[in-house]
């Protein structure tokens, strides 16, 4: 996916490719600093399907049972 993001996905507004950058995700009062692709100019964050349905889903479920 990373390769695909780098090659294919661009920020439509700024017309530039995405780069990895620091992003904070948060759920049920917990914050997670992570590295995700985002627009280096306007900071719009991109979350690919694999991440949403994989790791993020696992983290959500784990936090919900705490």
């Amino acid at each position: 996916m990373d390769k695909q993001v780098q090659d294919a996905i661009i920020c439509n507004k700024c017309r530039i490719p995405l780069t990895l950058g620091k992003v904070t995700l948060s759920y049920l009062g917990s914050d997670f600093p992570v590295e995700l692709y985002k627009c280096p100019q306007c900071s719009l964050v991109f979350i690919p399907e694999e991440l949403a349905k994989g790791k993020m889903d696992q983290v959500e479920k784990a936090l919900e049972d705490k």
Binding site: I9, I10, N12, V23, S26, D31, I47, M56, E64, D65
Partner: protein, 777 residues
């Protein structure tokens, strides 16, 4: 949940009660475990299980009087299980009988055992293991009492020798030819022994008792008076048991052993200054509370060994072991896929729920189990103790919501769907046009309106024609999803709003289209006169049938779980089917023991896997088409490929349509159907024009994406919001290879992502997914 409530609920589940064999056995040998060991071919385990309860397994396996037969469930069918034969098989087929035995350090107390029969020897072993110094006084020159009366075939002497070898490992001194009595010829007097020893167990058998004169209080028959539980005599240091107490006509080897164990327990308590009577329930034989269903068990007589002296061969032992029912209850687990899924039974589950609620920090492992229950109450119907797991789970959900510990993802979608149904898009409350009062009001419910809006329209028309005095209409959801989700406040608020609408219409009698709404109103509004459309239709007659010659169908009726106790309602369904000319097939689980369709308790949102198991089990029960009278039941069965009619499908037939074979509408379509029903009724019935929706963008969604959205519980409305957001703000990504756009939007708590492309007349949706983790930037 209070501990007291937990304990009371736990007690109702009998699964952990001893099986009849162990309960009848005065020392509670795990006969069921021995049978299981034989089945596995593990004789050593069988021997150890016997030895756990009796100190002399080689002897007992030969001559036990088998009180276990008394409550063996097999007796209700044919003959009790030959446990003793299986015990003997285990002993004879263990190469080396190594018996595990724990021994405690020695103590500074001495106990005299008078009589070296099995009862006295049992007490000696029990107390010896605890470290007491034991002295046995035996009147003859050998131990064992009357066991020597058995033939060598029945009781090989080597078994005695091997079992008694145990005595040498313990701090036990044996005095032979040492009769005790307060007579002149006795070498030892009981009074003297009482002065020398800290406790005395009297087990001298049943010979010549009267001549011994022990100086203990006896009843009028001359029998020594003892306490049945503690075995203490009139002398607080002296305990008695065995044949001495049982009498010559009631001798029982295993009971004598039990007396020895119980007296040893009492003496240990006495010597430690503990209560002799505390916590001694269920010592000795008792009637078990365990329920075991023996329906359908085939009769099979007890296996006889070809050579009685040699005992069972391996084949014979296995055959006999296989006769055993391995008694257990599990009545609820047998009928409920949810209870079966977690591999336990309610007694264990109730404890897990309680522990889950007690956790302050850490993982709540039982959340999944608590939220998966469909709250249908079938368990209560089949449980011999009437335990209702649904009530426990519902209560637990309330508490979880109250403490902010309910995982938000579990019920969020269903609750938002409910809020949709109670928003202005669907909610409506009106008198019949031309009327300022209502003699009745029709409440079709949110799911019938979502599944079959056309039936709601027709039904309302029929009611207006048939009922005089004006039939009002209330559209909305009865609030049951909130109740099932443990959202007490939301449920109360919903009920309050319904009540307000009802009162504004003059509080007329309510006619419900959905059995669940019916049950909610009946339970929550005692002042409301409520009737289901089914009893009403049965009473006032059906709409005129257009077709004269309808093909009679053979239909298996699936009763709705929320109205399992509504006998009249259930009868009306059968009666209507007969009037329509159809044949009724009764499913095995129907009426008060009907099953849930997988929707109850919001099961299908909390745990789709179990919900699908529930649905698939139900639809496999008959090859006939099913007939339901709840829209959710119909759609759940039809969605899994079972041909299912809703009763209204048969009343309001649509020419040329196979309604039983049609899948139910998806989540988005259900909401659209509700919204459209409202606007259609307003237009057609009340002649009101309705404003068009503001944000109406054209979406083209290929079938595979629609299925994906359905599975991920993403609505078309949410997808539209994302695209509108992406297009209006310009905040979107472009996939330059596929020439598609990707945007996201978080309307409330879930962030939705949509990959789409532009077309001249709208947007094509290529993919959609969601997450709950919030992007903080």
């Amino acid at each position: 949940m209070e501990q007291k409530v937990l304990r009371e609920a736990e007690k109702k589940c009998v699964q952990e009660e001893l099986p009849g064999c162990s309960a009848s056995c005065p020392v509670h040998v795990d006969a069921r475990g021995i049978v299981a060991a034989v089945r596995k071919g593990d004789c050593k385990v069988g021997v150890q299980l016997l030895h756990n309860m009796v100190p002399f397994p080689r002897i007992i396996s030969r001559i036990c009087d088998q009180l276990c037969h008394g409550q063996c469930k097999r007796q209700e069918i044919d003959e009790s299980i030959g446990i003793n034969g299986l015990e003997q098989y285990c002993i004879d087929n263990s190469d080396e009988v190594f018996l595990k035995m724990a021994q405690l350090p020695s103590r500074d107390k001495k106990v005299a055992i008078i009589g070296g029969g099995l009862s006295g020897l049992t007490a000696a072993v029990e107390l010896g293991k605890k470290g007491y110094t034991i002295v046995i006084f035996e009147a003859t020159d050998r131990l064992g009492g009357n066991i020597w009366e058995y033939s060598v075939n029945r009781l090989p002497r080597q078994n005695i020798v091997d079992d008694f070898a145990l005595l040498k490992k313990l701090p036990i001194t044996i005095n032979f030819n040492a009769p005790v009595g307060n007579e002149n010829y006795s070498t030892l007097s009981l009074n003297n022994l009482c002065a020398t020893f800290d406790a005395v167990y009297l087990a001298i058998g049943c010979a010549n008792l009267i001549s011994v004169h022990l100086g203990l209080v006896c009843d009028e028959k001359g029998d020594i008076e003892i306490d049945a539980v503690t075995r203490v005599t009139s002398n607080p240091k002296v305990f008695a048991g065995g044949s001495l107490i049982l009498g010559v006509d009631h001798k029982s080897i295993i009971t004598s052993i039990s007396h020895g164990k119980r007296a040893a327990n009492s003496m240990d308590r006495l010597l430690q200054n503990a209560s002799l009577t505390g916590s001694r329930e269920n010592e000795g034989s008792f009637a078990t509370l365990l329920y075991t269903n023996v329906d359908g068990v085939e009769p099979q007589v007890r296996t006889q060994s070809a050579d009685p002296d040699a005992g069972y061969t391996a084949e014979e032992a296995l055959e006999e072991a296989n006769r055993c029912l391995l008694c257990e209850c599990l009545e609820c687990v047998k009928v409920c896929e949810y209870l079966a899924h977690f591999r336990g039974y309610p007694r264990r589950y109730v404890r897990e729920v309680y522990n889950n609620l007690s956790i302050v920090m850490g993982i709540h492992h039982a959340n999944k189990m608590i939220n998966a229950c469909n709250l249908c109450g079938l368990c209560e119907q089949v449980c011999p103790g009437n335990l209702n797991m649904g009530e426990i789970c519902r209560e637990a959900r309330h508490l979880m919501v109250g403490r902010g510990k309910m995982p938000p993802a579990v019920h969020d979608f269903a609750l938002r769907d409910m809020l949709f149904s109670n928003s202005k898009t669907f909610v409506l409350s009106k008198h019949q046009p031309g009327f300022t009062t209502s003699s009745a009001v029709f409440f079709p419910g949110c799911q019938l309106s979502a599944s079959s809006p056309q039936h709601v329209n027709k039904m309302y028309q029929f009611l207006r024609e048939k009922i005089t005095g004006g039939v009002g209409l209330i559209l909305g959801c009865c609030g049951v999803p909130a109740d099932w989700a443990g959202q007490e406040n939301l449920f109360k608020e919903t009920l309050y709003n319904i009540k307000e609408s009802w009162h504004k219409l003059g509080a007329p009698r309510v006619i419900t289209g959905c059995p669940t709404c019916y049950s909610v109103f009946k339970r929550e509004f005692p002042e409301m006169v409520v009737e289901s459309i089914w009893t009403l239709l049965d009473r006032i007659g059906l709409p005129d049938q257009i077709e004269e010659n309808i093909a009679p169908l053979r239909l298996a009726v699936h009763d709705t779980c929320t109205t399992r106790h509504e006998t009249k309602l259930q009868q009306s369904i059968r009666s209507i089917l007969h009037k329509l000319g159809h044949h009724v097939e009764e499913l095995k689980n129907s009426h008060e023991i009907t099953t849930c369709c997988g929707y109850g308790g919001l099961m299908q949102f909390a745990n789709k896997e179990i919900a699908n198991k529930v649905i698939n089990k139900r639809i496999a029960e008959s090859h006939h088409d099913y007939l339901t009278y709840c829209a959710m039941c119909r759609d759940n069965f039809a969605n899994q490929g079972k041909r299912t009619y809703h009763l209204l499908d048969l009343i309001f037939k649509i020419e040329g349509q196979d309604l039983a074979g049609q899948k139910g509408p998806g989540y988005s379509e259900r909401q659209e159907n509700r919204a459209r029903l409202k606007t259609t009724l307003l237009k057609e019935v009340w002649g009101e024009t309705v404003d068009k929706e503001e944000t109406n963008i054209a979406l083209m969604i290929p079938e595979h994406v629609r299925n994906l959205m359905e599975e991920r519980m993403i609505l078309k409305a949410d997808v539209a919001k994302v695209i509108v957001h992406g297009e209006s703000t310009g905040n979107k990504f472009k996939n330059t290879e596929k020439d598609t756009y990707i945007a996201y939007f978080k309307p409330i708590s879930v962030t939705y992502w949509v990959e789409y492309s532009l077309q001249a007349d709208g947007f094509v949706v290529h993919n959609s997914y969601s997450h709950r983790l919030e992007i903080k930037g």
